[in-house]
C-alpha cells in the first residue's frame, strides 16, 4: 500500500503529534507514505467560500503532485479530504472550472489529468487494512478502556449517492471507528454528540456557539462512560480540547476528557510507546487514560 501523503497544515504546525503518530502507525502496518511536501493548504473551506477559483486551483495542484507520484492521496484530516474530493467533483462536472484550473496549473508548469482518488487514514485503516488484519497486528489490547468515537461532520457528510462526495461509510450510521476501536480491544460507546459538529469552522467567528458544540459533545461522551474521545480530524481534536476550557460556564461542569487522534489510539494498540505518539502534547492531559493502561508518558 502506497499513498501520496498530504499532511495538511495542522499536523505540521500546532498538532505535530498527529503527523508523528500517523507515520508510526503506517510504518507498523506496511503503508508507505510518500509525502507531498510541496502541496499547499487545502483552503480549510474558507478559501473555497471567498475565492473558489483559487481553492480549485490550489487543490488541483495538490492532486497534480499526487498524480506525478503515481499514487492516490491519503490525508489525516476531514476538511482536507472533503476539500480535495470536492475539487475532484468540480473539475469533473464543470468544464469551465476545469479549464480555469488547467490554465492556472500550467502557469507553474503542472497539469492534472483527473484520476487521483482522495482518502484519509480512517478509511485506509478500516477498508484497505481492515479491522481483522488490524486486530491481528495488535500487541497491546486496550482492554477495559472505553472510547467515544467522534467522527467529525466532514468525514461523513455530504455523503452518499446524489448527496455528496463522501461515500466510505453510511453517513447516518457509520461503523468505521467502532470497528477500529473494537479491533484495538477497547469498547466503543454511543452518545449524543457522536455524529455532530465540533464547532471548529466558527471558532474564530462565533466562539460561543463553537465552544457550546464542543463542550456538549464532550459532556455527553463523559456521561456515556468514555475514558477518551477518538477523532480522525485534527480540527475536531483542536476544538474538542479547547472547548473544555470554558465548560463550566457552558455546560455547568468541569470537563477533562482526553481527545486522541485516531493514529494515537491505533498506535497504542500496535505497541507504540506514549512518547512515540507524543501523547504528552495535549491541551487536556492524556495521563488518566494512559494510567488505565498502566502507562506513563515515557
Amino acid at each position: 500500500m502506497r499513498y501520496a501523503y498530504f499532511p495538511g497544515c495542522v499536523s505540521k504546525h500546532g498538532s505535530e503529534e498527529l503527523d508523528v503518530a500517523t507515520r508510526a502507525v503506517c510504518e507498523r502496518l506496511g503503508i508507505e507514505l510518500d509525502e507531498l511536501a510541496a502541496a499547499p493548504c487545502c483552503g480549510a473551506g474558507d478559501v473555497q467560500e471567498i475565492d473558489p477559483q483559487l481553492s480549485a486551483a490550489l487543490n488541483a495542484l495538490t492532486l497534480a503532485q499526487a498524480e506525478r507520484k503515481g499514487a492516490d492521496v491519503l490525508t489525516v484530516c476531514n476538511v482536507c479530504t472533503l476539500s480535495l474530493r470536492q475539487t475532484n467533483e468540480l473539475l469533473a462536472a464543470d468544464g469551465g472550472a476545469r479549464a480555469a484550473a488547467v490554465r492556472a496549473l500550467a502557469a507553474a508548469g503542472w497539469s492534472y489529468g483527473g484520476g487521483v482518488n482522495v482518502t484519509q487514514l480512517l478509511w485506509v485503516l478500516w477498508k484497505q487494512v481492515g479491522a481483522a488484519r488490524l486486530a491481528e497486528a495488535v500487541t497491546r489490547r486496550l482492554t477495559g478502556v472505553v472510547i467515544a468515537p467522534f467522527y467529525g461532520c466532514q468525514a461523513l457528510r455530504p455523503g452518499g449517492a446524489g448527496v455528496g462526495v463522501n461515500a466510505d461509510d453510511a453517513a447516518d450510521s457509520p461503523a468505521a471507528l467502532e470497528d477500529l476501536i473494537l479491533a484495538c480491544g477497547a469498547r466503543a460507546v454511543d452518545y449524543d454528540g457522536r455524529l455532530k459538529c465540533c464547532g471548529w469552522p466558527i471558532a474564530a467567528a462565533r466562539d460561543g456557539a463553537s465552544a457550546t458544540m464542543a463542550a456538549r459533545a464532550v459532556r455527553d461522551a463523559v456521561r456515556a462512560g468514555a475514558d477518551a474521545i477518538v477523532t480522525p480530524c485534527p480540527l475536531c481534536h483542536t476544538s474538542l480540547e479547547a472547548g473544555q476550557h470554558g465548560a463550566l460556564r457552558i455546560v455547568g461542569e468541569e470537563l477533562r476528557l482526553p481527545i486522541l487522534h485516531l493514529p494515537q489510539l491505533i498506535g497504542l494498540a500496535l505497541g507504540c510507546s506514549p512518547a512515540e505518539l507524543r501523547l504528552q502534547r495535549h491541551l487536556v492531559s492524556t495521563a488518566p487514560l494512559l494510567a488505565r493502561l498502566g502507562l506513563t508518558f515515557a
Binding site: H13, A38, I50, D51, A108, P158, G164, A204, L283
Partner: protein, 368 residues
C-alpha cells in the same frame, strides 16, 4: 384539566391468515406527547402491515386510521412537495412520505446489530440478537414539541420572513402588459434553490441552530440565496448586508447536515457557501467569519500553509483575542499554540505562480 374519554389502545391490524404477497410488516415506535395529560414524552409501539413500497407516512396513517386515533402528525400531499410531514426517523430528519418503511426497517436492524457488536466485551463477538429493532419516529429537532410529531414552527417561519423572501426591485411599476425578462440561464441559477419546500428537515438537524438558537438557519439562507440570485431582484447588496449579521451566514458551522438531510436534494451548505462568496464580492468583509476566511487566504498565499494563531488574531482583532488569552496561554504552555509561523511548503513559488495566474484571470474578467 379535561379528561380524555375512552381512548382506543394501539391494537394490531386485522390479522390475515397468511401475509399476502408483496407486503411488508414492521414495528414502529413513536415518541408520543400529549400536553394535556403527559408530563414527559414516552415511546409507544405499533405493529403495521402494508403493501410493498409503502412509506412511513402510510404506516402512520394506518396507525391513526385503524389503531390509535390520538396520534397526531402533519401531512398533506404524500409526494414531498408540500413539506408537511417532516419528522426524525431513526434519528434523522426526513419526510415521512418519501421514506420507505422497508428501507428504514432495514436501517434500524443494522444499527441495532452495530450497537450490539460495538458494545460487546470482545471484538468480533457479533451475534446481534434476532429481535427486530423498531423504526423510531420522533418530532423534528430544534423546535418545541406541541403534540406527538407536531412541532412549533413559529420561530422557523419567523426566520424565513426575516430574510425578506419576496422580489424586490426599485422598478415598482412594471408595464402590466409585459413580463420582466429573465434568461433561461438566469432561471437555471435559482432552479435548485426554488425547490425548497420549507419542510424544516435541514433546520431540525442543523448543528448551529442547536448550539445557537437564534441562528437564522439553513432554510432561510436557501431562501435568501433564491432571491439574492434572482436576476430581477436588485437588492442583492442590502440582502447580503443583512445576511452578514450576527446570526447570519457566518454562524453556519459547515456541518453539512442540511445538504445531507434535504429531501429535495438541495445542496444547502453549498448554497450558503456561495452566499458567503457573494458577500465577499460585495465588499461586506467586516464580520469576523469573513475576516478569518480572508486571513486563511492570505496565509496560504504567503506560506502555502494555514497559520492558526495569526489567522485567529487577524480575524478577531487584538481586543477579542485578548479575551481568549487564558485559553491561549494554556495552549502555549503545552506547546499546542505557537506564534512561530509555519514552515512554508516546498516549492512555494509554484503555489504563488498558480495563485497569480488565478488572480490575473479574475482581474482580466476571464471568468470560467
Amino acid at each position: 384539566m379535561p379528561r380524555r374519554t375512552k381512548e382506543q389502545d394501539g391494537g394490531a391490524p386485522p390479522a390475515a391468515a397468511e401475509r399476502p404477497a408483496g407486503t411488508v410488516a414492521a414495528a414502529i415506535e413513536v415518541l408520543r406527547f400529549d400536553p394535556q395529560v403527559d408530563r414527559e414524552a414516552h415511546w409507544r409501539r405499533y405493529e403495521v402491515e402494508l403493501p410493498e413500497g409503502a412509506t412511513v407516512l402510510e404506516a402512520l396513517m394506518q396507525v391513526q386510521d385503524h389503531q390509535d386515533g390520538s396520534l397526531a402528525f402533519r401531512r398533506s400531499c404524500r409526494h414531498a412537495i408540500c413539506g408537511s410531514c417532516g419528522m426524525r426517523i431513526n434519528g434523522c430528519a426526513r419526510l415521512a412520505c418519501n421514506t420507505q418503511v422497508a428501507v428504514v426497517a432495514q436501517e434500524a436492524r443494522r444499527r441495532a446489530a452495530q450497537a450490539g457488536a460495538a458494545h460487546a466485551a470482545q471484538p468480533g463477538a457479533g451475534g446481534a440478537d434476532a429481535a427486530p429493532a423498531p423504526i423510531r419516529i420522533e418530532p423534528l429537532g430544534n423546535m418545541a414539541v406541541i403534540k406527538d410529531l407536531i412541532t412549533d414552527m413559529s420561530e422557523f417561519w419567523q426566520k424565513l420572513r426575516g430574510v425578506q423572501p419576496w422580489l424586490q426591485s426599485l422598478d415598482e411599476h412594471p408595464d402590466p402588459d409585459y413580463e420582466r425578462l429573465m434568461s433561461p440561464a438566469g432561471y437555471s441559477v435559482i432552479s435548485q434553490a426554488l425547490l425548497c419546500v420549507e419542510c424544516g428537515c435541514c433546520y431540525s438537524d442543523c448543528c448551529s441552530v442547536e448550539a445557537s438558537a437564534d441562528f437564522v438557519g439553513p432554510t432561510a439562507l436557501a431562501k435568501a440565496f433564491r432571491y439574492a440570485h434572482d436576476s430581477r431582484d436588485d437588492q442583492t447588496h442590502r440582502r447580503l448586508f443583512d445576511l452578514s449579521a450576527e446570526h447570519g451566514i457566518w454562524e453556519c458551522t459547515r456541518c453539512y447536515a442540511c445538504t445531507q438531510r434535504c429531501p429535495k436534494h438541495l445542496r444547502v451548505r453549498e448554497l450558503i457557501t456561495q452566499l458567503g462568496g457573494l458577500a465577499y464580492d460585495e465588499g461586506l468583509r467586516t464580520d469576523t467569519g469573513i475576516r478569518r476566511a480572508a486571513a486563511v487566504r492570505s496565509s496560504v498565499l504567503a506560506t502555502g500553509r494555514l497559520d492558526q494563531a495569526r489567522m485567529t488574531l487577524a480575524a478577531t482583532g487584538p481586543l477579542q483575542a485578548l479575551s481568549r488569552l487564558p485559553g491561549a496561554a494554556h495552549a502555549a504552555i503545552t506547546g499546542k499554540l505557537t506564534l512561530r509561523p509555519p514552515d512554508p511548503v516546498e516549492r512555494l513559488e509554484d503555489v504563488q505562480a498558480v495563485a497569480r495566474a488565478v488572480e490575473e484571470s479574475q482581474t482580466s474578467g476571464d471568468q470560467s
